[in-house]
């Protein structure tokens, strides 16, 4: 049991990171019923934008650039943590505008468009930042490792897990405790009624998509120091995010969070005792959950079922 404990802790932290990755994807699927295959590319874009913000590679030669690079990494990191997701969110807004002609049509149209967008974003990243591996610097305070029970754990990974908890609670509070959140939830439940009450559904969708894209970007900035940074990083993101929302139940916030933690635990514990099965374990979990409850853990009927 003592040998298992560190793997459970590791699985929990991994699960929280998976939850952060799935958050934006869940929001867009839940509210707009669009499976955003560009989620992974927006994730990567956020991380690259943060890299350029910290490294200042495009304005290093200017006076402002010299001043900026003179600031400690921690200060630049905090700005990057805000700017990367904001710009990824802006890219999300553009993508939503492109998506509009597909509304009211078969889900396949949205799926294909976001798939195309994923390819475009990935190629843009390749052109702007190159194909090679990049390294996103992090402040010294959250870098390195610490000892717990005689084992070494990564400080940054625990920071990232803690940050995920804050992000999850922040999004939940936004959805549950603000009028905007109430409108978003109502829009997911009955969009025609929301329109009839005088709310602009187009703006609502724009806001949700931008917010979901910004969350993808935020996850990218947080995950890049763990997974590394390369143009095709997004591929590693979409599949777990999709699995998590299906296991949790499409449109269910806490369903997705619980599913992410279960996936993290499954991957973490399998990684210790049957590592060759670690990636497969999330699919086994999917089969088990859907075998007992076809709408996922906390899922309700979705328009995607029509």
């Amino acid at each position: 049991m003592l040998a298992l404990l560190p793997h459970i802790v590791n699985g929990l932290t991994l699960g929280l990171l998976f939850a952060l990755i799935a958050l934006g994807f869940m929001l867009i699927v839940g509210v707009m019923e669009v499976i955003n295959l560009a989620h992974g590319s927006l994730f990567t874009l956020g991380a690259y934008l943060a890299l350029s913000t910290i490294g200042a590679d495009w304005f290093a030669g200017t006076g402002f650039g010299s001043w900026w690079l003179g600031l400690p990494v921690a200060a630049r990191y905090v700005v990057a943590l805000a700017l990367g997701p904001l710009l990824a969110g802006a890219a999300g807004l553009l993508l939503e505008l492109c998506l509009r002609p597909t509304y009211g049509k078969a889900p396949l149209y949205g799926l294909l468009l976001t798939f195309g967008a994923a390819l475009v974003i990935e190629e843009v990243i390749r052109l702007v930042w190159g194909t090679g591996e990049q390294h996103l610097p992090i402040p010294a305070g959250i870098d390195g490792a610490f000892l717990l029970g005689g084992l070494i754990f990564s400080t940054y990974k625990f920071f990232a897990a803690g940050f995920s908890i804050v992000a999850i609670l922040g999004v939940w509070l936004f959805l549950e405790r603000t009028p905007y959140g109430a409108i978003i939830k109502a829009g997911a439940h009955d969009s025609e009624m929301v329109r009839a009450l005088g709310y602009d559904l187009s703006k609502l969708r724009l806001l949700v998509f931008g917010f979901g894209a910004a969350l993808a970007g935020l996850a990218g900035v947080i995950m890049a120091p763990i997974w590394g940074l390369r143009p095709h990083l997004g591929i590693d993101v979409v599949i777990p995010a999709f699995l998590i929302i299906v296991i949790g139940g499409v449109g269910s916030f806490w369903g997705a969070v619980i599913a992410a933690i279960l996936v993290g635990l499954a991957v973490g514990v399998t990684g210790a005792y049957a590592p060759a099965w670690s990636l497969l374990s999330m699919y086994v979990l999917l089969v088990l959950v859907l075998g007992f409850r076809s709408r996922g853990l906390l899922g309700r009927k979705s328009a995607l079922e029509n």
Partner: protein, 429 residues
Amino acid sequence: MFKSKISRRRLLGSAVAAGGATAFFGPWKHNRVYAASTDKPIRIGLTADASGQYANSGASDRRGMIMAIDEANAKGGVLGRKVEYFHIDTETTPATGSRVAERMITREDCGFLVGALSSGVANAIGQVAQKYGVLYMNSNSSSPTESGENCHRVKFVWDGNGANFAKAAIKNAIDSFGSKFMLLTNDYVWGHDTAAATRKLLTEYGGTVVDEILVPQGTRDFSAALLTIQQANPDVVAAAVGGDDQKAMRQQVAQLGMGSKPAWINNQQDWPDVYGLPVDNLFGVFGTTWYYRLDLPGVAEFVQRYQAAFPETAMRVPGNVFYNGYMCTRELLAAVERAGTTNNIAVIKALEGHVMPAKDRMQHFDAMIDPVTHQVQQTIYLATANTAPAEKDDLFSILTQSTPEAVKDTAAPGACKLESYEATPTFDA
């Protein structure tokens, strides 16, 4: 009496037309002979990954091939014929590799194929190439099976393999760090083959394997594996983890500060995988076939040629993947010149047993193409992170260089059964 309605003139005309059509469109071999009798360009298919796990290395591989082809053309071509190349992305996927090879040979008229990073892809391409008798240069995949059980008469393997690198590293690691080894293995053909070679050598040199962790391809989180390693407390971790998996692993090991204890040996460290990473990510000892700061004649000039040919490339100096891509293409074209023909069997014979002087290959020892396994027997270097770099790109510190004989994969000749010349389709490219 039966009276034919076909006149003799019409019958003769039809026969001539049918004969002409058969000569032109007929059996594939005839077509190839027709093609070769003209002065049309020699076409080389570049089977390099542009997406998937080895996308970045694939780009480097391709640049090496292109520079060799451009240099050959600048000298007037090969046998007086211009050399053309044609690239399709093999997507780091064996099924795509097969499809690409098939298309390059049957529809794009490629007489030679060059390129590979993934051993799975190389094996798939090799099978198609053998079916048509098309020479295939496996530039950069390093599974021992490529020159062992998956060898082919048409395939030549240019990279050092897992057995070569393990041989160079393991005895040294046992002497320096201890005999208790843990294997961290990518769960696919290259990882398994390399781990098998490591196990064999450990048995030979008196080491033990306390555990083996199989890491699925596509793993991004190594924390469970790293916790297991800490719990097992080995002296040495022998990692056979490649591509993007390795990049993620390196980053996470460096974050935990586990790069120096336990000791790490990585069979091979491809230059595109580490270029641009912080030096603490380059922990442990690893193998390579070439480094851009080797103190040997021709190296500096080769680097200059690379920089002149690819001024826009973010990777400012060539690495081992580029080097292998370049060398195998250059040697293929040189073999065509030596053979004096593009006939595939003649070119194969010109390559088999060919000795390449150390100065031509910018390595420490002469290299030779093994006629039994078709693998290039070459110098293997052991390197580690350079903590006192002379310039920004000076990432490696070369520790040792082993002769081809010292690191020879002795299991390969027994496992490799090359097809006979007679069983290999022949044609002129």
